[in-house]
């Protein structure tokens, strides 16, 4: 949809590519600041990107 590579996304939100990979593969939970940054970048709400998981 946004046609961004992991590297480009990482540069835009100011983290490393490893962090983007870790977030995508559900191994790392980003901070609130980073979550809002991603939401702003994609012009959606935070809850549209991150789904609450009880486990």
């Amino acid at each position: 949809m946004h046609n961004l590579t992991q590297e480009q996304l990482a540069d835009k939100i100011g983290v490393s590519r490893q962090t983007v990979i870790a977030i995508e593969s559900d191994k790392y939970l980003p901070s609130l600041g980073l979550a809002f940054k991603m939401a702003r970048l994609f012009k959606v709400k935070v809850e549209n990107i991150f789904i609450e998981n009880e486990n």
């Binding site: 540069d11 983290v15 490393s16 590519r17 490893q18 962090t19 980003p30 901070s31 980073l34």
Partner: protein, 170 residues
Amino acid sequence: MGVDLVTIKNNRYTELYILDIMLTVCYIIIMNRKKYKQLRVIVAFFVAAIVALAVMRNSYLLAVTGISTGMVFMVLVRAKAKIRTDEREATVQEKAARMTYAIFAPTIGIAAFLLLLPSKGGIDVFSKGEWLFTESLGMVFAYLTLFLIAVYAISYHFFNRKFGGGGNEE
């Protein structure tokens, strides 16, 4: 004398100017974190080579100069290129530091206790001859443990206050 002072001053300005040019070049080259990490590896190799050379030539000054130049260079490049610590990296560092403390403090504390126990317990064998070093080593370990706990306590207190804790609760 006056001329000499002016020459020294000019040389210093030239050195600063060269350093600034080097940093600007690095700033242009280092546009991302990946290149910064590559440069860090290159500088590490460079410093290691200088230290190896210093060891071969038995020169402490060269080793100290090489290490400090490498450190200052990387700090300046990091500041100039505005490389920030990645938050996942910071989390990993926090967890690694916590685990290091959790393992190291008890290990060295127990080692100090075990080394001091025989000599303080009145066992003559450990109070003389070739076993005498155990008491000294035990004392070093004991003070090291105390220092570690003190540093942890101070930094805990500092960060606790920084992040909103510290006795102001209603």
